[in-house]
């Protein structure tokens, strides 16, 4: 090889370097055939969670309304904006408040970024709740997706935890008193241990509060703990669980669809190669790993390549979320009240809106409203897939015996029950007003919250018996709880005023 040749070679290599870099990064060439698109997807670390082909049923808007992607998009927005906010935020009392003010007033785009963070957080909470409702109503939790439903429950709790811990960070009045109330809810098992006279030896409530606050009251220790939870622990848990959640979607066979999905999406005429449940030929590798296997067969084809169909859908959901967040951030500023003052409570002291339903329950009994009933609800939800072992209606909205009519009926019943119980409690009061010396354990066990829970439970059992179906009971119970949650949240948000009194509108609030 002559010297000149070597030089020419080098120059050629230099010229080709960008192309080769692209080839090495993406490996497969331009994704213009089904095959190269597939290899583009599974050759990319960020995309390989996706299937190669997606069923067209999954791509219908009404299947998911994009709520899962919306949730994760909102999370990504909070992640990015949150990291940006950390440039200026200092987790120390009073200094924190000044930092937020600085972000709000001086930092370039600071107010916008903070608004985005807040709105994305809110949208995340909403979309996670709606995503759960979607999954439930399409019976998508059924075998083999039970475990993913449970993971989803944990994700819901972590999302709410993130929202709650973020609420303290501005260190304003709103934050301070919401967190004081929250920390005392953590302490509320004392309501039971006190009644049983065992607080001295067994005090889980006190321990919870101590771990949360690191002190007896909300101060510097509490702020740094909430900060740590908000920016480190909970996001890590969330990311980890999101990874599991996504991975399970893949492994559990993608999104749920009805048996006759192929027919209903109107597949193209003819027989095409497809993945089928009944393998006609199996790979050796699959023989080693036992269980449901990917196998090639022939049948009616309802799938399309994930690239680009699925990606368009995902991008659309992402951009829709971004758009809504941007719009809200431009229109409505995130609130900032006055600096926290430990000796004057806000009146009324309200938590973020998604906790106001709970706060309404808490205003009857701290333990039941703050811990008991939420725990029962979360546990009940997590148990649903293990109790409902039916198969009819899977993948269909309100699928199951009774269907839409049952859900509508349950909604009417759920609304009526919650409105009745609330009206009763607001108009006539509760046990303590009629019988001053009532033992606390009685009120803890019998209060509007538990009564409502019991009514819903009995109604759902009645549904189970009537339809001879666990799914019918679950549909009724879930609908009832959803109605209860919405109504309680609305009452807590708009109809509660100073001293948590009931007021028809803000205009009726007393001056002081």
């Amino acid at each position: 090889m002559s010297r000149g040749q070597g030089m020419a070679q080098f120059l050629d290599n230099l010229k080709a370097a960008p192309r080769r870099f692209a080839e090495s990064a993406w490996r497969s060439g331009t994704p213009n055939t089904d095959r190269s698109r597939s290899s583009f997807v599974f050759g990319n670390v960020f995309l390989h969670l996706h299937p190669v082909r997606t069923h067209r049923w999954s791509l219908r808007w009404s299947t998911t309304w994009g709520l899962g992607i919306a949730s994760v998009s909102a999370f990504l927005i909070t992640l990015v904006t949150g990291v940006l906010l950390m440039f200026y935020y200092k987790p120390y009392p009073d200094v924190a408040y000044d930092a937020i003010k600085d972000i709000h007033f001086v930092v370039p785009t600071g107010r916008f970024i903070r608004n985005l963070h807040r709105w994305a957080g809110n949208i995340m909470a909403v979309s996670v709740l709606l995503h759960m409702a979607r999954t439930f109503y399409t019976a998508a939790y059924r075998k083999p997706r039970e475990f993913n439903w449970v993971v989803g429950m944990v994700l819901l709790v972590v999302t709410l935890g993130l929202a709650f811990t973020g609420y303290l960070l501005p260190w304003d009045q709103l934050a301070y008193w919401a967190i004081t109330i929250g920390a005392n809810i953590a302490q509320s098992p004392r309501e039971v241990t006190d009644a049983l006279g065992m607080t001295a030896v067994f005090d889980p409530g006190g321990l919870q509060k101590l771990l949360l606050l690191g002190s007896e009251d909300v101060g510097a220790e509490a702020l740094i703990r909430f900060y740590l939870l908000h920016v480190m622990i909970l996001p890590l848990v969330l990311v980890l669980l999101i990874a599991v959640h996504f991975w399970r979607i893949r492994k559990d066979g993608g999104l749920t669809r009805p048996e006759d999905a192929d027919r209903r999406v109107g597949g193209p005429a003819g027989i095409h190669p497809s993945f089928t449940e009944a393998p006609q030929k199996t790979y050796h590798l699959a023989a080693v790993v036992r269980g449901r296997t990917a196998a090639v067969g022939r049948g009616p084809e309802g799938t399309v390549p994930a690239m680009p169909h699925l990606f368009y859908a995902e991008m659309a959901a992402l951009m829709l979320t971004v758009f809504v967040c941007l719009l809200l951030s431009l229109l409505i500023d995130a609130p900032l009240k006055e600096l926290a003052n430990p000796s004057v409570p806000e009146n009324p002291a309200k938590a973020p809106w998604y906790f106001l339903g709970l706060q309404e329950l808490v205003s009857f009994s701290a333990f039941m409203g703050g811990i008991g009933i939420p725990a029962i609800v979360i546990l009940g939800l997590a148990l649903i897939p293990y109790l409902d072992r039916e198969t009819t209606g899977t993948g269909e909205w309100f699928g199951g015996p009774g269907g839409g009519r049952l859900v509508a009926g349950s909604a009417v019943f759920g609304l009526a029950a919650v409105l009745l119980v609330e009206t009763f409690a607001i108009r006539l009061g509760w046990i303590r007003e009629w019988w001053l010396a009532a033992p606390q354990i009685l009120i803890t066990l019998v209060n509007p919250g538990t009564v409502l829970t019991l009514i819903y439970a009995l109604y759902s059992i009645w549904l189970v018996r009537r339809h001879q179906s666990g799914r019918a009971g679950a549909l009724g119970l879930f609908t009832c709880f959803l109605c209860g949650f919405v109504v309680l949240t609305i009452i807590g948000t708009w109809f509660r005023g100073p001293n948590w009194g009931f007021y028809w509108s803000r205009a009726h609030w007393p001056g002081h």
Binding site: L59, W61, D98, K101, D102, F105, V106, P108, T109, F112, Q173, H309, Y312, A313, M315, A316, M319, L320, V322, F323, L326, L327, S329, L330, L336, K337, E338, L339, V344, P510, G511, H512
Partner: protein, 581 residues
């Protein structure tokens, strides 16, 4: 697929649009940017080029303040050109504290970090520290200068009247007035500006010195203008002619007035009024004063968001400093209408007085600055225990007693309260020894409206209590207590008979067990301990002229006359309560 693509397209374009708008708003639409652009246009052409549109701030680490007010108020920003006469861009008036060194919020309140007008001025709900309204701007001095030795209104008014009557304003400037006349009819200020005489100090011996040596008249002012001193002798004679000896007492009164001129016009008068109508009888400031009403130490820093404006009537704005001043003014007019259940009586103030009290309330603020930065007056007040007001008898009486006992000790009666005793009553002063008065002031009347004013409780020192007693005797016409030769406890009457007589003659006003009613409570630990039998005996026998307490030894058609033994029995009966206790 097609629908999805459309959704993606339109949401992305929408997001781009929103981001573009946000970027435009961030870079071009911000309030302060618009203001700075307007300012730039009005600058002289040669300065326009060097003007940079950017946030400006005054940072004072010691005060923990970051004041971005100068971002808009460019005339007050160090290094920028002021546009005189402009409301926003004008220069700061000449004050003793350079804004570039002290920042803005330290005096004016407001949110220094904010760069939006509404937020910075505090005209937003839930912003705890709004700006002090311009009208009461000098109230801001109160944040640091707590110790203005202010006399009560009457002395102050007298001093001011004399200052004006004796034509001091001809040569001297005072708070923007006067100082326009020179001997011989020429214009211009001759004497020094006395606006801050009380703060900067002045030579009190100047006036007598000048009278004694008229030829030095023009240099006596201390600033020795050489070219003026070289004027002809005829000039000196003209000076001599223009000074007449002041009547005795007038120079002292003028001194009191001048001593109160500290460069805070209005604030001094406001504080003087507060210390003339007895507000501290019920309200305490910095731990000194009664505790019937709320503590007022930080009244001017109250959060307007927490006021409860529903009952405020006078068109108070809902937010900002104006909300607080409006609330205060409404409150002074009719306290119970603004604060439900307020025990504060309607004092019947004029609008001017209400405005002054509002002014003073706004000046009640305490800022947590490091002690090294405190002004000398605050150090004197908080570390050496000096009073925040003058401690002569009239001022002390005006500060603590006047609200309940009346400015002339005539007693007061407000709707809904029992009557407050007339303490300048000569019948009372004739039998009340100084010691009795001292005990009464020091220990109060537990359980009644009269608080204990002793050093540990209300904060009055022994010499101050003595000054108050002297003042009470002065407004009572100089009545001195007759010495009492008898021991403190001499009554040995029949207490059973006394009880019957008491129930018959006294209980209707003083209550069946002396708990008080229309008349004062007699069953009171401090009263029974401090009062000698002679005091009780003589009060019953001679009564108190001008009050409801009749002289029971006098014949009367409507009630029986009491003999001396009967009075003694009643006194003995009253004494039994003391034992029981």
């Amino acid at each position: 697929m097609r629908g999805t693509k459309h959704l993606l397209l339109w949401t992305s374009l929408g997001a781009l649009l929103l981001l573009g708008w946000a970027a435009y708003a961030e870079n071009f639409r911000q309030e302060w940017r618009l203001l700075q652009a307007a300012y730039r246009d009005r600058l002289p052409a040669d300065r326009r080029a060097e003007f940079q549109a950017q946030l400006r701030q005054i940072v004072v680490p010691a005060l923990n303040s970051v004041d971005r007010c100068v971002t808009c108020h460019l005339g007050m920003s160090p290094g920028d050109t002021a546009l005189p006469g402009d409301r926003v861009f004008g220069p700061h008036p000449d004050v003793s504290h350079d804004p570039a060194q002290f920042g803005c919020t330290v005096c004016h309140g407001g949110q220094g970090r904010a760069t939006v007008k509404a937020d910075a001025h505090g005209d937003v709900r839930h912003w705890p520290e709004p700006m002090i309204p311009r009208r009461h701007a000098y109230a801001g001095c109160g944040a640091c200068h707590t110790h203005l030795a202010i006399p009560e209104t009457a002395s102050l008014d007298r001093g001011r009247a004399l200052f004006e009557r004796h034509d001091c304003l001809a040569c001297h400037r005072m708070e923007g007035r006067g100082g326009t006349l020179r001997p011989g009819g020429a214009g211009g200020m001759e004497g020094p500006d006395l606006t801050a005489a009380g703060a900067r100090g002045y030579d009190r011996g100047w006036y007598p010195g000048h009278l004694a040596h008229p030829e030095e008249g023009r240099t006596g002012a201390g600033d020795g203008r050489a070219e003026a001193a070289g004027a002809a002798g005829s000039g000196a004679r003209r000076w001599q002619a223009s000074f007449a000896p002041l009547p005795a007492g007038d120079p002292q009164a003028i001194d009191i007035y001048l001593g109160s001129r500290v460069g805070a016009p209005g604030l001094v008068e406001a504080k003087a009024l507060f210390h003339s109508i007895g507000c501290r009888g019920c309200h305490s400031i910095a731990g000194v004063g009664g505790d019937d009403g709320p503590d007022l130490t930080r009244e001017g820093q109250r959060d307007p968001g927490q006021l409860g404006l529903t009952h405020a009537t006078g068109g108070a704005s809902p937010t900002g400093g104006a909300a607080l001043t409006g609330w205060l003014a409404d409150h002074f007019r009719a306290p119970a209408r603004v604060v439900a259940g307020s025990a504060m009586p309607e004092i019947g103030l004029t609008d001017e007085q209400i405005d002054r009290l509002t002014f003073y309330m706004m000046s009640l603020r305490r800022s947590d600055y490091p002690e090294a930065l405190w002004p000398k007056d605050r150090i004197r007040a908080e570390r050496f225990g000096e009073r925040e007001f003058a401690t002569d008898g009239p001022t002390l009486y005006g500060t603590y007693c006047a609200a309940c006992h009346g400015r002339q000790g005539e007693g007061m009666r407000f709707p809904g309260t029992t009557a407050f005793p007339a303490i300048s009553n000569s019948d009372f002063l004739a039998i009340a020894s100084d010691d009795f008065l001292r005990q009464t002031i020091r220990r109060g009347r537990p359980g009644r409206r009269m608080p204990a004013w002793g050093e540990k409780e209300g904060g009055l020192r022994p010499d101050e209590i003595d000054a108050v007693i002297a003042q009470v005797r002065r407004i009572g016409g100089g009545v001195v207590a007759r010495p009492d030769p008898r021991p403190a406890r001499w009554a040995r009457g029949d207490s059973a008979a006394g009880a019957r007589l008491y129930a018959d003659a006294c209980a209707s006003c003083h209550g069946a067990t002396g708990e008080g009613g229309e008349g004062p409570a007699l069953h009171n630990r401090v009263l029974l301990e401090a009062a000698g039998d002679t005091y009780l005996f003589e009060t019953i026998r001679r009564g108190r002229r001008g009050t409801s307490m009749a002289a029971f030894s006098d014949a009367s058609p409507v009630r029986r006359t009491l003999e001396d033994e009967e009075i003694e029995a009643i006194v003995t009966h009253i004494r039994t309560w003391e034992v029981k206790r």
